[in-house]
């Protein structure tokens, strides 16, 4: 008679064996295996009897009360909604630019109107600032989302696998490309360079699959750190975020 080994006995205990009836009939006939099985059962019963402190019916409420203040408001929008919204804003910016450009050409023969203010003379031909402000608003939102993702990766445990929010990263890659091209077309090297630096990291996260290995996490963290990417994104994000409400000088080429 072939006895059941310890692994088979454990599997039988947890009903994880493929032929439980065979194991059962063997145990009924074999004293030696039955003793082994009984020992395993007693050990596991002993472990299972270890008590867990009870949490009362208000526990969930207490958890929520402590938790709710730590949860930021989610700005999540549906994947395609956010992309369509970004594309629509850019389209509006483009056509507004075309319209202003055509208007300026028509006005070339007309002496430029200048107004006197308490701060001096301002040119009312504000084509560039108008378009910059539109781009600035959408880039600011994008940088804020990117900053959150970089922070998550930068703070991940480098000795463990990391669950990649791949969908969110894919959204950010798509937005990043549009904004980078827009910024480059408008000659804003500062934004374009930052977005260029950001894109490989976002792309890697978007294509990483479900998880990053500890080595991959450490590698990405190193790249984020070496380029001071998180710091730069925070700075530009803060500047663009606050700059949206401020008048932009007509000669400025910066977002």
């Amino acid at each position: 008679m072939q006895h059941l080994n310890e692994e088979q006995l454990v599997a039988h205990y947890y009903h994880d064996d493929e032929a439980p009836a065979v194991a059962e009939s063997h145990l009924a006939a074999c004293t030696e295996c039955r003793l082994q099985y009984e020992t395993i059962r007693r050990v596991l019963t002993l472990v299972g009897d270890a008590p867990v402190p009870e949490r009362d019916e208000h526990y969930a409420e207490q958890v929520w009360t402590r938790l709710r203040w730590k949860l930021g408001a989610r700005k999540r929008r549906a994947k395609w909604t956010s992309l369509i919204a970004a594309a629509a804003v850019l389209a509006v910016a483009f056509f507004a630019g075309q319209w202003w450009h055509a208007r300026n050409l028509r006005n070339n023969n007309i002496p430029q109107i200048a107004t006197t203010s308490t701060h001096g003379i301002q040119n009312v031909s504000a084509t560039q600032p108008q378009q910059d402000r539109v781009l600035l608003v959408v880039v600011s939102d994008h940088l804020e989302s990117s900053e959150r993702m970089l922070a998550e990766v930068a703070n991940a445990n480098p000795h463990e696998q990391y669950d990649v929010p791949a969908d969110r990263a894919a959204d950010l890659v798509a937005s990043n490309r549009m904004y980078r091209q827009s910024a480059a077309n408008r000659g804003d090297q500062r934004i374009a360079t930052l977005l260029s630096d950001l894109e490989p990291i976002l792309t890697e996260l978007a294509h990483a699959g479900k998880t990053l290995s500890p080595e991959e996490v450490a590698s990405i963290q190193k790249r984020i750190e070496s380029k001071q990417l998180l710091f730069k994104v925070r700075i530009v994000s803060a500047q663009t975020g606050s700059g949206g409400d401020k008048p932009v000088p007509a000669h400025s080429n910066s977002l």
Binding site: E6, E7, V10, A11, Y14, D16, T31, R34, L35, E38, T39, I40, R42, V43, L44, T45, L46, V47, G48, D49, A50, P51, V52, P53, R55, Y59, A60, E61, V63, W64, R66, L67, R68, K70, L71, A73, R74, K75, R76, E152, N157, E160, Q161, D163, V164, P165, A166, D167, R168, K210, T211
Partner: protein
């Protein structure tokens, strides 16, 4: 009609805090139980529950809807527990403590083997210490796999997903855990051959 986890999750993703609150209410006590088994400490377990829901909230977008929300949450809780244990170096400390339970000293502490039956005993403080010490002999994966299988009744396939290992590896990890527990605790439960 009861809102399913997936429906609540979907609403939470759209920024509805009440939907996430529902998930917290539904799962916090179970997660506490897992966290306590993992950490062996009430205060730590409370911290793990908080951290688990915080991480889950931040990673809501990473959850794949074909997966089981409870399994996903368990996985986060297990990772939080392991992070906490590593951070505090408790594992090492416990391992060091265990040396006092090995060898002759432990043999002297053996309890009577048959009367009363161990599975009918109310666990004494000393027995609890033995069990806790035996659990602390397990590696992180062994402890996790064992707790999920033994206490939570999670299928081996789900445990494999939780640990990121194959089903057979998960099964073997559970077996290794049981063998270690048996090695440490068998003297306390050895049946009287005459009674069988």
């Amino acid at each position: 009609m009861e809102v399913t986890d997936l429906a609540a999750l979907s609403r939470a993703r759209e920024g509805d805090p009440d939907a996430f609150r529902l998930l917290v209410e539904r799962h916090s006590r179970v997660i506490f139980r897992v966290a306590y088994r993992m950490t062996g400490n009430e205060h730590d377990a409370d911290d793990v529950v908080q951290e688990t829901f915080l991480r889950a909230y931040k990673q809501l977008d990473a959850f794949e809807e074909r997966a089981n929300f409870s399994t996903w949450l368990h996985r986060i809780a297990v990772n939080c527990s392991l992070d906490l244990l590593r951070a505090r170096g408790r594992h090492d400390k416990h391992r060091a403590d265990l040396t006092s339970f090995d060898g002759d000293e432990e043999r002297e502490r053996e309890l009577p083997s048959s009367d009363p039956q161990p599975d009918r005993l109310v666990l004494s403080a000393e027995l609890q210490q033995h069990v806790a010490a035996a659990m602390n002999k397990l590696s992180g994966n062994e402890r996790t796999a064992f707790i999920l299988r033994h206490f939570e009744g999670m299928p081996v396939e789900e445990i494999g997903k939780t640990l990121g290992i194959q089903v057979n590896a998960a099964k073997h990890t559970i077996f290794r855990a049981v063998r270690k527990l048996r090695d440490a605790l068998e003297p306390l439960v050895r049946p009287n051959p005459c009674s069988t």
